[in-house]
């Protein structure tokens, strides 16, 4: 067991595997085979170690903690000055595939294999430092089986989802989510309304920022709220005490005063939350497929092939939260079912009461739906002088939303924006922006609510419109240094 004061990896928790820039969320379970980055292993040995520990995969799929976590830099500082003399004929590597396989079978560690590959390359020393580095990185990635187990966080999960399953989060890029959390002034003690169809990632990010203080009402379409990504965060139980949900389909009736819990959609009574059971079911089938199936090579490749492996990620995580439920399902009886229904109805009444106060401290929307009707309705529940932020994958609907909000009034400081994000390679004498970047991270419309005079809305709105029209003088940009 490793020393160190930090939190330890426990059975039943949700953890994130990390290799280089690739992440995967998993449930920490004994005797469960995991496939990650073409490597299979068991997490059993990781239990009890501190989060952040790096492991090497050894024979038999066991994890063995490593002391040094830095990327080991193979020492080969003899470099050519340019590659004018290199003719790539595919014959420069003296080790054959069979040789390499033999090394692996002997249990030789990846690091050593890479060193051997370098020593047996006839062209390595003639390559530029540039090319040497590229070579080493490629080979290390192929032969070194090192993974780090880290605690989940918004940073990690939002990066992971954007890389692996952007379709599930409406292509919400992590930096765009970061903007939402800041522009929304998300903090402990707020009463927030969240409407998202991003697998519960946005909800999880809001919950993390609120740290269990305050309350959240999640608005949901269909039969029940989706919280697959939420459960990956591994929040303590009490975080869920003040998390409420309310069906979108009841918003209009709540606003018009005709809402009653008797009028619940039938799906709600029967299946909610839908994810639990159905996903649990898939999970069982999934587990066996996973055992035999080779995992796709990289996160981006996975995105294209749309494999079951991806779903497993969510489902594994869900396991953690609903494990208890499933166990109980076995001895389920009528009393239990009734108690659950009664609890659900109680929570619905609570959520309705919270909304009816119309004093939410903010509204966060990130969904696959047209934002305009959502905004026009849900803003009614927000107190004046509070921020709201709407995400949309496309710009055009937010242009319309902007226009309709202006017509409605009661909002100021409307801003339509997107962020541009670029990563850099910083290496001695080789610094430059990364060669590929995201083309777009989606668009945000943000603003602040103000008291809406419904009486004289005509004239005041007109004035407000004029007041807010972007001036034609050029924007003043701070002349930093």
């Amino acid at each position: 067991m490793a020393a160190g004061p930090g939190p330890r990896i426990c059975e039943g928790e949700c953890a994130v595997l990390k290799r280089g820039d690739v992440f995967k969320a998993v449930a920490v379970l004994r005797r469960r085979k995991i496939i990650f980055e073409k490597q299979w292993f068991y997490l059993d040995n990781a239990i009890g170690h501190v989060y952040g520990t790096t492991f090497e995969v050894t024979s038999g799929g066991n994890l063995q903690p490593r002391r040094e976590v830095e990327e080991t830099t193979t020492d080969t500082k003899e470099a050519g000055t340019d590659n004018r003399n290199i003719v790539d004929d595919g014959k420069s590597q003296k080790l054959t595939h069979d040789d390499i396989k033999a090394l692996k079978d002997k249990g030789i560690k990846g690091q050593e294999i890479v060193q051997q590959l370098i020593e047996n390359s006839t062209t390595f020393r003639d390559k530029t430092e540039f090319a040497q580095d590229k070579y080493i990185k490629k080979k290390k990635k192929k032969y070194e089986a090192v993974i780090t187990i880290v605690k989940p966080s918004t940073r990690i999960l939002s990066t992971m989802y954007y890389a692996r399953e952007p379709g599930k989060i409406n292509h919400l890029r992590y930096d765009t989510l970061a903007q939402m959390l800041t522009l929304g002034n998300i903090r402990a003690g707020n009463k927030m309304i969240v409407m998202e169809t991003c697998a519960g990632l946005v909800l999880g990010a809001v919950m993390e920022r609120m740290g269990g203080y305050g309350s959240i009402i999640q608005m949901y379409p269909g039969g029940g709220p989706v919280r697959a990504a939420t459960s990956c965060f591994g929040f303590p139980k009490h975080f869920f005490n003040n998390l409420h949900e309310f069906p979108l389909s009841k918003v209009d009736s709540l606003l018009s005063g005709t809402f009653s819990t008797e009028m619940l959609p039938s799906e709600f009574e029967d299946n909610a939350p839908v994810e639990e059971e159905s996903n649990g079911l898939i999970d069982e089938k999934q587990a066996s497929i996973q055992e035999t199936e080779e995992e796709s090579i990289t996160a981006t490749a996975m995105e294209i092939n749309q494999t079951e492996e991806q779903e497993t990620m969510d489902i594994n995580a869900e396991d953690v939260e609903f494990k208890d439920n499933k166990e109980k399902d076995n001895k389920e009886n009528v009393r239990e079912k009734q108690r659950k229904q009664w609890e659900r109805r109680k929570k619905l009444i609570e959520a309705a009461a919270l909304l009816r106060e119309k004093n939410a401290d903010g509204l966060i929307v990130a969904s696959k739906f047209h934002p305009t009707p959502l905004l026009l309705s849900l803003l009614e529940f927000v107190a004046p002088s509070r921020p709201f932020v709407v995400y949309c994958q496309y710009k055009e609907p937010l242009l319309e939303c902007y226009t309709k909000l202006r017509e409605r009034g009661g909002v100021i400081n409307l801003k339509l924006s997107e962020t541009w994000l670029r990563n850099y390679q910083v290496l001695p004498d080789r610094s430059h922006p990364k060669l590929t970047m995201s083309g777009g991270g989606g668009y945000l419309l943000s603003g602040i609510t103000v008291v809406l005079d419904k009486g004289k809305s005509d004239s005041s709105n007109l004035e407000a419109l004029k007041m807010e029209e972007p001036s034609s003088k050029r924007c003043k940009v701070q002349d930093l240094q």
Binding site: Y51, L183, I412, R422, N423, I448, Q478
Partner: protein, 308 residues
């Protein structure tokens, strides 16, 4: 009012934001008996502000009106008195997420500067976390302390007036995250490491120049930081405008209309996203990029202090 909690009504002693119109606002310290001048006339604090709801429309003496807004770290960033270059919300957002800050986090920061980032950090780590912020310029440290007091967050922040490169953050092994915005961040990496918890944590350095980044990355590697990642984030704002474009006169009206393949040239066709409001022009909504935008604030370098 406080910067970490919403209040419904404006109270004596509050810092409020007077919103005059598009990107025109300023902060005001609410005080009984005081008046504030605006281009729309005078606002009398006792009568016009105190006791009113935040978000209310307040009519000034000349008949024009303004909105009074509850302060937030973001509004403060847009309105604070500049004592130095400040960080804006776009960078602040990614810093907060990438440092994994949340209620309860312990953060170290240097320099405090004008307190733009400090307010956002305090907001995020409240109510159980703490910010240790170090500022080498004495007047600025003083002023920051004063602002934190006025904004009701002094219990969440400790301001120290010293040179972080020489003396560090004054705390060790307690921070979850460290943020550096100083001319020579590479000189403070050792101190940053010492301030972070033994079990590890995150660090971020903000620098305008690439040479600073190069040295900082080397220092981070030297001190055993991992996951070193430099990035840059820019905000592109679109103005939503109604645009009219003229339909060119190709002489169709006066001519024979039988020429082939031309009828589809009328953009007012059904299904077209354009609205033909007056003869010969097409109107549409457009998200127009601002003519000039911020092209650079600084490079952000993030890294992780690992376990061992």
């Amino acid at each position: 009012m406080s910067f970490i909690e919403y209040g419904d009504t404006i109270k004596d002693g509050d810092t409020a934001i007077v919103f005059l119109g598009h990107e025109s606002m300023f902060p005001v310290k609410v005080q009984h008996g005081t008046v504030t001048q605006t281009k729309y006339g005078v606002i009398r604090h006792s009568m016009d502000l105190i006791g009113k709801k935040y978000g209310s429309k307040v009519t000034c003496s000349k008949g024009g009106w303004v909105f009074i807004l509850h302060p937030t770290p973001e509004l403060w960033t847009m309105n604070l008195p500049h004592r130095t270059q400040i960080l804006y919300s776009t960078d602040i957002s990614i810093i907060t997420m990438m440092l994994e800050l949340k209620p309860g986090s312990i953060v170290c920061e240097s320099g405090t500067g004008s307190g733009s980032l400090s307010h956002a950090l305090i907001r995020t780590v409240a109510p159980t976390g703490h910010l240790y912020t170090v500022e080498f310029h004495q007047q600025r440290a003083e002023k920051a302390r004063e602002e934190f007091r006025e904004h009701g967050v002094e219990h969440l922040v400790t301001v120290t007036n010293q040179d972080v490169c020489k003396n560090g953050f004054g705390v060790s092994n307690i921070a979850d995250a460290v943020f550096l915005d100083i001319p020579s961040p590479w000189e403070a990496i050792g101190h940053a490491k010492a301030a972070l918890k033994a079990e590890g944590g995150r660090i971020c350095s903000f620098s305008p120049c690439i040479e600073q980044v190069q040295r900082t990355c080397l220092a981070m590697e030297e001190y055993g930081f991992t996951e070193i990642n430099t990035l840059e984030i820019l905000l592109r704002v679109y103005n939503v405008r109604t645009i009219s474009l003229q339909i060119p006169d190709l002489g169709k009206a006066a001519e024979d209309n039988s020429s082939a393949g031309f009828d589809s040239s009328n953009p007012s066709n059904q299904g077209s996203p354009c609205t033909n409001l007056q003869q010969g022009t097409v109107q549409f909504k457009s998200g127009v990029p601002q003519k000039e935008m911020v092209g650079h604030t600084g490079y952000l370098t993030f890294a992780t202090k690992s376990l061992f």
